[in-house]
Structures are given as structure tokens and as C-alpha cells.
């Protein structure tokens, strides 16, 4: 999966910028492989993280093992803030990632940082609102369509320009999530995700040259299957 389009995939300099107000603030940059755990739900929330590059998912587990992926974050996004002294989710990379971290207490003492967080958290909250609609009210087909559209840049949003006329309206999406992770994000089972993709293939809506490459043949058509248009 490529970094999510839409906002701040630029240089990740927020921690650097805002943590300097203290005296000996240490910023550490680490490289993670794909599917490495950064922290677990319930761990002491003593660090905040910023994604320089890569993809990270936040998820929660129920005691019987059911999992819900609650957020998918990309370059420029920040995570690890917590309202208690424990993380409320686990964090795991979905793709190789470069991630900076610093001490949460220090970051939070910086006024500028908290102001920056205001913007970041608002975005995250609005994304969660949208995702709640998906989880609570959309069919399996609509969920997968919405998911695929997330990775099509500059399309499907409020200011969607629509397809260029008399040109194929295609877009190639490269997934960096397994079917299980997609299912856990969309509130479905792995089998349902697979079946929906197969149906889309059968109907000529997508082509799948590899399991993790999906060519959307008609972006505008796909967009109208998300339940969000018309």
C-alpha cells in the first residue's frame, strides 16, 4: 500500500520542530521491517511516534481474539498519544517504515507541539467518523470499494473532478495489507473480502495481475459503489 493520499506526506519534521523547546530532548529515528510491533495496547504510553516513511496500523483486540484495525497511518502521521498512561491500541508496521520517537512527556510540555497535534487529531477524528459510517452502515461491497478508493489519489473526494472523458479511467493500487488485515480493518472476514474482490474481477471492475496489485478499470464507477455518491 502506498502512503495514503490526501494530506501531509511531506518531510516529517514535526517532532524535530516542536520538541526542541525542552533542553535535552532526544529524538530517535528507527527503521522497522514490515509487520513489526511498535507497541502493544496496555503498554506504558511513554513515547510518541511520527512516521517519516512507511505505513502503520493501530488495532485493538477483544479477549477472544477478534481484532479491529482502527486506523491506518502514513508518512507525516503521528501516533502514541494517549489520554491515560497506557496505549489504547497496539501499533504495527504494514510496510517497512522509518519512524521517529521522542518522550511523550517532553513533547506534551511543548506548547507548539500541542497546537500542532490539534490539527493532526482533528484529521484523525474525522477519519474515524467516516470509518464508523463504513463499519456501521455499509455493505461488504461498499466497504471494499471505499477501501480501494482510499488509495486513488485526487479522486472520490468532495471536489472530485470525475473521469477524463474519452480516456480509460484506470488506476493501479498496490496493497501492502494481507487479506486478513483488510478484513480486520473493514469489519469483515477474510473470505468475504476475497469473494468481493473476485466478484469485482468477474464483473470487469478490476484486474488483479498480482494478489496485491489491483487495477481499477473504472475509477468513477468504483467510486459510485462506495455508497457515498448519488
Amino acid at each position: 500500500m502506498d502512503a495514503l493520499p490526501g494530506r501531509n506526506n511531506g518531510v516529517a519534521d514535526e517532532l524535530l520542530q516542536y520538541s526542541r523547546s525542552g533542553d535535552d530532548v532526544k529524538i530517535t529515528e528507527s527503521v522497522f521491517d514490515s509487520h513489526e510491533t511498535i507497541f502493544f495496547e496496555g503498554d506504558p504510553s511513554d513515547r510518541v511516534y511520527e512516521i517519516v516513511d512507511g505505513v502503520v496500523m493501530l488495532y485493538k483486540l477483544l479477549p477472544d481474539g477478534r481484532r479491529q484495525v482502527v486506523e491506518i497511518l502514513g508518512a507525516g502521521d503521528i501516533f502514541g498519544m494517549a489520554s491515560s498512561d497506557l496505549y489504547d491500541t497496539s501499533a504495527e508496521t504494514l510496510a517497512p517504515a522509518t519512524i521517529r520517537h521522542t518522550v511523550r512527556r517532553q513533547a506534551e510540555q511543548s506548547e507548539g507541539w500541542q497546537q500542532h497535534m490539534y490539527t493532526k487529531l482533528l484529521h484523525q477524528l474525522e477519519d474515524m467518523h467516516e470509518h464508523a459510517v463504513l463499519l456501521g452502515r455499509k455493505s461488504a461491497f461498499e466497504r471494499v470499494s471505499t477501501f480501494l478508493m482510499k488509495f486513488v489519489i485526487d479522486r472520490g473526494g468532495v471536489g472530485c473532478v470525475g473521469p477524463k472523458l474519452d480516456a480509460p479511467d484506470e488506476s493501479l493500487v498496490t496493497l501492502k495489507m494481507t487479506r486478513q488485515e483488510i478484513a480486520d480493518y473493514l469489519g469483515l472476514t477474510i473470505e468475504t473480502v476475497s469473494r468481493v474482490l473476485s466478484t469485482m474481477k468477474k464483473r470487469g471492475l478490476i484486474v488483479m495481475p498480482k494478489q496485491d496489485r489491483i487495477l481499477i478499470k473504472n475509477v468513477c464507477g468504483m467510486c459510485h459503489m462506495t455508497g457515498m455518491h448519488e
Copy 2:
């Protein structure tokens, strides 16, 4: 529905406290009846609101009318912040409410306000994570149980003390939402909510002296049906 337990139901003085940094900041306090709309999704997001008293829901609609209630807010909670210049949800009172508002641009210019928002938004985000688990992974029975437990103060949380032994572990909940609103919050239909409550009644888990009064006969037992314990 009573104000949600758990955090900041005290005096709502945040707007007052933090908006004073500008010179002629105007704070307006209004009284709303039950089921009055405060703003609609897509309206210009020029005000921020603080609940002094009452209950407010935020919801989103799909074009075909499907509705998802994404947040339920009580005294001390703040809403109307937006990352764009349009509200991403509609806001409507669930109970008679006293609500303060001020100009968003003015509030956001206040450093202290943004810092305060950091804490507020973190809480809201964590609530949304929890709600995503409910919407994505819980059965109808678990959803309704979880919903009812929201209104039982000091129980079911991480530090749950459990029931007092040799005493009935009861709790009376007064709902301020219609079945339709509960359904739209839990991602169910009105009929399913009704059926689950009837089943709980049949099993002696609850007593319903009125449609909006639910006496939980065994809080600890109810808590174990939320899917969150063992």
C-alpha cells in the same frame, strides 16, 4: 440519558477560560430543546460549541438516508472543531441542553485553548477506537450490552471493582435516545435493538418499567456480555 459517566461533567468553563486571550471574544449561551439541530454536516464550520448541560449526538448520513451516529457527547464535551471549513457531521440534541458557542477562529487563535483541545480530542479519539471495535466486531447482543454499560457509573472499566458480594448488583439506566437513535449509534436496526432488549427481559437480565428506563438486575453479568471481559 444521563450525562455519560467517566470524565468531566463538572462546570463547563473551558470556552470561557480559554477564549479570553482575544479582546472582544463573545461567548453565547443558548438553551436547546430535545431533538433540535445545532448544525448540519456541510455547514460552514464557524463556531465551536461546549455542552454546559445536556446530551448531543453527532451523526453522518449516506445519500440514500442511512445514518450513523458517530459520537454521543455530554456535559463538558466540546464539538464543532473541523479540519476543513465545513462540519464533517451534523449535531443534534438528544435531551434539553445548555450549550455555549464562540467563534471558531477566535478560539483557535488561543494557545491555551488548543492545548486544552489536545486532551479533549485524545479522549474522543480513544472513544472512537472503542466504538470501531463495537461496530466492526461485536454481535448485536454485545453491542446493546456495551451500550447499556456506558451509563453505569464506575463499573466495567479497567479498574472495575466488581459487584458488592451478597447484595443485588443492580443499576437503573434512563435512556434519552429513541430506539432509532440507539440503532443508528450501534449500527443495527430498530427491530434488532428491540429484540435484544426483549430477550434480555425474558432472561431476567433487565427490567423495563418504562420504555426508556432499564433496570439492569446484574451489572457484573451484563458487563460480561459486552465481549470485553474474558
